[in-house]
Amino acid sequence: MKKILIIDDEKNILNSVAMYLGGHNFEVIKSMEGLQGINIAKEQKPDLILLDLVLPDMDGYLVCRALKESSGISDIPVIVFSAKCQKEDIKRASDCGASDFITKPFEPKNLLDVVNKYLEEK
């Protein structure tokens, strides 16, 4: 069973996405803070990370960069999902090492497709 770490401070989104992915046979780990998310990633080494850009403790871009720069977890694909959807946001996320960008709101199916795409690649 593939492990997916979701970092998002929006409880409703976090829970619904976790429930949805859990329903599709993924092991889901949830985190509502950036630093905590990084630590969980280091400890549990998920197969994929879903990251929101707006977090209470630190900027999502920074989290992304930190994940990509930490040894052992730098090859885990990070998919940013955010309500921020300007070109510059996408570019910045990509500069920070994010593999893909999903704009909120999204169709649950789309999320599933993207997640599957990266996990299969792996």
């Binding site: 929006e10 409703n12 989104i13 619904s16 996405v17 429930m19 949805y20 859990g22 329903g23 599709h24 309500a83 921020k84 909120k104 709101p105 999204f106 169709e107 649950p108 199916k109």
Partner: protein
């Protein structure tokens, strides 16, 4: 009397005193003077003639009669002498009668001569004649007595010794009288000649004087009348040229002076009226100046050479310049703003079709930050002439901009805030639909799909709002590339094929294959066409007769794309605001009414126009233009 000031106009009345100085009086006087001189010259001549005739008369009176008398007396005495001699030889009575007859003639002449003693010594001569003649007569009586004695020799002796000397003496006295009078006549003739000569000279002198005086007076009058007239002509000419401030010098108070006075009054009135007109114009100008200066927006007027003609108070404060220092100078020289100048210049370049020129925007740095102004430049047109310049209305839109930015921010923030709950709603719906939390009943599934539909709609609305706000604030960049409209139409046909089939509507394409490429952001224009066709699909009849046509043609470096349908058409009241936000076509089904507003913004961002041609019952045609390369 000099009449110069208009403030105290003196009414010019022809008084008796003035009469004396009037021109008529002057002319009359001058002619009278000439007449007087002429008359006196004539009188002088008459006097001279008189003198001459008197002189001749005196010759006649005093000399000629005496001469005549002397001559006749000589003739008479000679005849008496002849009669005497005859008598001596013939002794006839006839000779006595002849003697007596001539004696009477002699005495007659003698008495005439005695009546006409004029010369000195004449009386003595006449005395002598009288005495000797008396003796002569007496001697003749003696002779007759002697004759009776018939002594011829004694008779002869008597004749020669007594009578002949007496005869000679009388005759000689008569000759003296003749001579005296003849000499005197010669003298008189000389004096007459002198009188005549004198008269000739004086008459000539007087004539010359008369002529000179006459000439002088005529020239004086001419000068007096004609010279001011030249001045009049000159001044009148100048007045007719519009130079009203003309004053004539007034000297004297004759008719010319009077005319000059009236002329000056007229000129003053003209100046006054002119001034009044100017004042009126000035008043009007001040009024319009006040209006222009009271306008809360900046106004700059330039001539066709971009020289500033007017700059109102607001414009002064916007650009921190002074109108007084700006007028007549080049726009760039006063306001170093290339964008502003560019807008003025574009007016000149696009003198036709200027109505399409959109207001420009300029930024001006001030202490508190940046101020934004929209600039609306329009050519100034006068009837029947070329443009005479351009006028720019400069409106401060900083606050509007700020409000706009605030609005954009607000919309952006609100949209973002919407997205998060929408995401969880979408997730929830996805979970339910996929039955992850458990299987749903059909009724529940129906409800969930309603939730899904409306959350999708809300989602779309948020997206559109964001797009619109970006478009409106100019944040959305257009990625302009050359594209074939055919491809876009094909894509739209493909995308909406299923939707059209659902209602059995027919979508056709009518675009020339060789149409020029358009310079567009392909995604945005595709969105526009999709939106227009999508809208049309909502309004065409659903009974299988629905028709939609996408067509395009080329004109004036533009591509005109139209989407027409055979739907219900649009009411005029809606047509006007159909491109506004939140306006719905008819029943309001489906769309939130942002689609056309976005279309408008996209087309505008491409430098094109969008409009609709429609009337209820005749379907609608949405038309927009984009530029070719």
């Amino acid at each position: 009397m000099i009449y110069k000031t208009a403030d105290s106009p003196v009414v010019f009345k022809i008084s008796e005193k003035c009469m004396k100085r009037s021109l008529r009086y002057k002319i009359f006087t001058a002619f009278l003077l000439i007449l007087l001189i002429f008359t006196s010259s004539n009188i002088w001549s008459i006097i001279n003639f008189n003198r001459l005739s008197k002189s001749i008369d005196s010759i006649m009176e005093s000399n000629y009669k005496s001469i005549e008398a002397a001559q006749y007396m000589i003739v008479a005495i000679e005849r008496q002498d002849s009669a005497e001699l005859e008598h001596m030889f013939s002794k006839s009575d006839e000779t006595v009668a002849a003697f007596n007859k001539n004696g009477k003639v002699f005495l007659g002449w003698l008495s005439r001569a005695e009546d006409n003693i004029t010369e000195e010594g004449e009386a003595e001569i006449l005395q002598r004649i009288n005495e000797s003649y008396t003796k002569y007569i007496t001697s003749f009586t003696q002779l007759i007595i002697l004759d009776r004695n018939n002594n011829q020799s004694e008779l002869n002796d008597y004749y020669y010794t007594v009578i002949l000397p007496l005869f000679e003496e009388t005759k000689s006295a008569c000759r003296d009288l003749l001579a005296l009078n003849q000499n005197s006549m010669v003298d008189r003739k000389d004096s007459s000649l002198n009188v005549a000569r004198g008269a000739t000279i004086t008459t000539a002198v007087i004539s010359v004087i008369t002529i000179l005086m006459g000439l002088y007076m005529v020239s004086f009058l001419a000068r007096k009348i004609v010279r001011p007239l030249y001045d009049f002509i000159d001044r009148t000419k100048r007045i007719s040229e519009g130079n009203y401030n003309q004053q004539l010098e007034i000297s004297g108070d004759d008719e010319i002076a009077q005319l000059a006075y009236e002329f000056n009054m007229m000129a003053e009135k003209l100046v006054h009226y002119d001034q009044m007109n100017i004042n009126k114009l000035l008043e009007e100008k001040n009024k319009s100046d006040a209006i222009v200066n009271s306008i809360g927006d900046g106004i700059i007027v330039t001539d066709i050479d971009y020289k500033i003609a007017l700059l109102n108070r607001k414009a002064e404060s916007i650009f921190n310049v002074r109108e007084a220092e700006s007028v007549g100078r080049h726009l760039l020289e006063i306001i170093n703003n290339k964008e502003l100048f560019g807008m003025f210049r574009s007016i000149r370049e696009k003198s036709e079709g200027w109505a399409n020129i959109k207001p420009g925007e300029i930024e001006i740095k001030v202490e508190e930050g940046t101020e934004y102004y929209t600039v609306n430049v329009r050519p100034i047109k006068m009837k029947g002439t070329e443009d005479i310049g351009a006028v720019a209305l400069i409106q401060n839109v900083t606050e509007l901009k700020e409000v706009d930015a605030l609005k954009s921010d607000f919309i952006s923030t609100v949209s973002h805030e919407f997205r998060t709950p929408l995401t969880s709603i979408a997730m929830g719906v996805g979970l339910l639909q996929e039955g992850i939390p458990g299987t749903l009943t059909d009724k529940q599934k129906e409800l969930v799909s309603v939730i899904k539909e409306d959350s999708d709609r809300l989602n779309k609305l948020v997206e559109e709002l964001l797009d619109l706000s970006k478009l409106e604030s100019g944040k959305m960049q257009m990625d302009l590339q050359s594209h074939n409209i055919n491809e876009i139409a094909d894509y739209v046909l493909k995308t909406l094929k299923l939707q059209a089939e659902e209602i059995n509507a027919k979508i056709t394409k009518n675009i020339p294959k060789d149409i020029s490429k358009a310079r567009i952001d392909v995604n945005k224009i595709t969105w526009v066409v999709t939106n227009l066709v999508g809208n049309a699909l909502r309004y065409v009849p659903k009974d299988g007769t629905g028709k939609i046509d996408i067509s395009a043609k080329e004109a004036y470096n533009k591509i005109i794309i139209s989407v027409s349908d055979n739907g219900a058409g649009i009411k005029d009241s809606i047509k006007k605001k159909i491109f506004d936000k939140f306006v719905q076509g008819a029943d309001g089904s489906g769309s939130a009414g942002l689609g056309l507003a976005i279309c408008k913004e996209i087309v505008r961002a491409h430098g094109g126009d969008i409009w609709v041609e429609s009337s209820p019952g005749n379907g609608s045609t949405f038309i927009f233009t984009v530029n070719t390369l």
